[in-house]
Symmetry: C2
């Protein structure tokens, strides 16, 4: 159904109408108004509800047709039946719609009929639409937030370069809350639900040319227009890394996906092939997707798969090496020159090998020395693990490692498992834009993503 038409106005709207606006704090529409104000939307906000003249100091229109202005985005926060009724009326000034309402195709035969009518109405009235059955747009660039779950429940991430496209609204909420909680930002999150009009292809086309988007992340239940997907995805991967998680891979999940947004999941193998063909980095599940967001927010993919491991505890180095080998990454030994250079400059009992164990006597500068001497052309990625037990280790190590990573242009991934103290110490890395992972497997998943290798 996609027309390939320019959808830019969704991502730099000058006016937003909130249909179903309400002064009742328990209504979704009230949360959406709060979200729009909190993010600081700079354009015009029009409220629409025939039951009110004014809500929270803003004029309330009886219908969207009464607004004497074009409406770039009309957010429909009314029941499914009311969505259709409103669209049957005067809506000529609406350019785009975000229909968050559920009760369409995902609910059975009557819902399917209603979604059919919705499609016809949108075509007839020349309105482009995101949804129904979605959260809509969270956009740190244009400062739009139609997510109807408050920031007390789902934290809003600051601006950064990752954009996320997702059929599932709960997935959108989950990943944004997790990223925000770990101090990571996003560019735009688009939750498109049942995709009665706009689908992943339209959105991906926009992200391909969107300068604010450095990395595109896709949560896919289904793709209907496979041919177009191959084309759009290939063009996008030429410009920036694209990561995809296909859910509903096998029978049970596939059936659930079908019931969820009323879509057909299709053969997983076809998706796998499409990802390979277009250069999309496929991730195996939610954990790997999150790891991918974190690592690609800081580093670009690399061409090899040789990992250098530096730790302050022997046990964790071995676990990281095991996880690398499980993931198909290589852990080649240290070159003899590096060994001889390092022998004198590291703590007495350090294991000068790969994985390297700097022991409990490590100081900040030993990490830097190890990276300088060992992280040469023989390795593509370094995983540096800090357990923070060593008494002479300080937060200052983050600054040193950041400088090394910047000057060398090579990715350094931090692995720092544990509880409160490690989390506190690693804030210095996050603040310096160096991604931190909290288990050996998680750090290795991130490395595997940079290597473009499916686990």
């Amino acid at each position: 159904m996609s027309t390939g038409e320019n959808l830019d106005f969704f991502f730099k709207p000058e006016s937003i109408a909130l249909i179903g606006a309400s002064p009742n704090p328990e209504k979704l529409s009230h949360t959406i108004l709060e979200s729009l104000r909190d993010i600081g939307f700079g354009g015009k906000i029009y409220l629409v509800n025939p039951g009110y003249r004014e809500i929270e100091g803003l004029k309330c229109y009886a219908s969207v047709g009464e607004i004497e202005d074009k409406v770039d985005i009309a957010v429909f926060a009314v029941p499914a039946v009311a969505v259709l009724e409103i669209l049957r009326g005067h809506v000529e000034n609406i350019k785009g719609a975000v229909i968050v309402s559920s009760g369409f195709r995902e609910t059975g035969d009557e819902g399917k009929r209603m979604e059919s009518e919705l499609k016809s109405l949108l075509r007839e009235k020349n309105i482009r639409a995101i949804g129904p059955n979605c959260l809509g747009i969270y956009d740190t660039v244009s400062k739009v937030d139609t997510f109807f779950i408050g920031s007390d429940k789902i934290e809003r991430p600051p601006r950064d370069g990752i954009s996320v496209l997702t059929q599932s609204g709960s997935f959108a909420a989950m990943i944004m809350d997790e990223l925000a909680n770990e101090g990571m930002g996003v560019a735009r999150i688009i939750s498109y639900g049942n995709k009665a009009d706009i689908d992943e292809n339209d959105c991906l086309e926009f992200l391909a040319k969107d300068e604010a988007t450095k990395v595109a992340v896709l949560y896919i239940e289904s793709v209907e227009d496979g041919r177009k997907f191959l084309d759009v995805a290939s063009r996008c991967t030429e410009k920036k890394p694209v990561v995809a998680l296909k859910v509903g891979k096998r029978e049970t999940g596939a059936k659930a996906a079908s019931s969820h947004t009323g879509s057909v999941s299709g053969m997983y193998e076809a998706y796998e092939a499409a990802f390979r063909k277009t250069g999309i980095i496929e991730v195996a599940g939610y954990e790997e997707l999150k790891d991918a967001c974190k690592v690609l927010g800081s580093y670009s993919p690399v061409s090899g798969k040789r990992v250098l491991i530096i730790t302050d505890g022997g046990g964790i180095g071995i676990s990281i090496a095991d996880a690398c080998e499980d993931a198909g990454l290589e852990v080649p030994g240290l070159p003899p020159e590096a060994v001889s250079k390092l022998k004198g400059s590291l703590p007495a009992f350090a294991a000068v090998r790969n994985p390297m164990d700097l022991t409990g006597n490590v100081r900040d500068e030993h990490y830097l020395a190890a990276l300088r001497e060992a992280f040469g052309d023989e390795y593509d990625i370094a995983i540096v693990s800090l357990l923070w037990g060593p008494p002479l280790l300080s937060e200052g190590v983050a600054e040193k490692i950041k400088e090394f990573a910047e000057n060398s242009g090579k990715p350094v991934i931090i692995c720092s498992p544990g509880g409160k103290f490690p989390r506190k110490m690693t804030l210095a890395f996050t603040a310096n834009g160096i991604p931190v992972f909290f288990s050996p497997e998680s750090a290795v998943r991130a490395a595997a993503v940079l290597c473009g290798r499916k686990k």
Copy 2:
């Protein structure tokens, strides 16, 4: 070298001597004294250091031989050379030793020679020893804590039923900090390092008959006496679940393990076979080990592998179903009777299937209704996912689910990804002894552990 002798005195000591005691807060021995006091050790503490007459109000002995009492545990917190020197002297009153010092076998030829001499001295003086190159004992039952990393860095978990045996000290610190941070407890953690005397077999033998230990968890780099391991492990698994992580599986990791505690890792396949034969639940890595600790702290293994999935968001249900199938677990459809019983009592658009989606209109009682009607003989484990977006969902759901789990005797695993809000809401589950996991994969790893299936 193990004699099979009774080692109980290590786990109910009446007296502990701290060799190398110091008033200097930067010394390991100072942290150990603090740890012993903080945990509330009720027996006698003797300090030993010829350089002091008194430390922190406690008499300081010039040598351990001067103490006119038997010493159940002498903690050696002195350099490797000093350990040998002291053992050559009058140490007849020492029954057991915890030697935290590094600088032995793991450091090369001279270290190997010193460890040889250490072994001879221990035999000659009839002293049983844990270590060297270890953290020793953290014991919530006998209230002993020889870990030389302060609780400001590594949080101490409260008492519960999990005991952990580990060659790696950093692993011991990592897992205890993580468990404590998530509100979980332990019985005893034994970090035995180079195992010059006491090894995993001795410890496992103790844990097998230890009533305080409900679950035994093993982090293994190497086992030297395989025949004895098969025997001891088989006897332990008859009494309680035993979980093992073998690290240094393949070449790189194996070499590192050898350098780490000076041990030979051996063929991974032999370990795999031993675990299978003895009924040990093998876990694939650190994440799965942590998941195993959390789930076995609350539930016993089950005999089937059929998982019921109940969620408040369609997307996550599909991800959990995918992860189940990846892990070899089954997600059978709902029995028709359950479907017809539930159709009337769940929210209007709920997907009454497996995975079940209770939607954003879910209330606490819907989760209970779903469990009551659906979690019958057709399923072995339920994974209940809460994303906390639904406005009518409350912390009260934890109490309801706990009652169901207690009455039914069937394991209910909570999956609740996200940031601050979900973490806060799930505290009600943790407080009720219901384990909480923060990703679909993590919840499924826990379920797989209960099914005794290696991922």
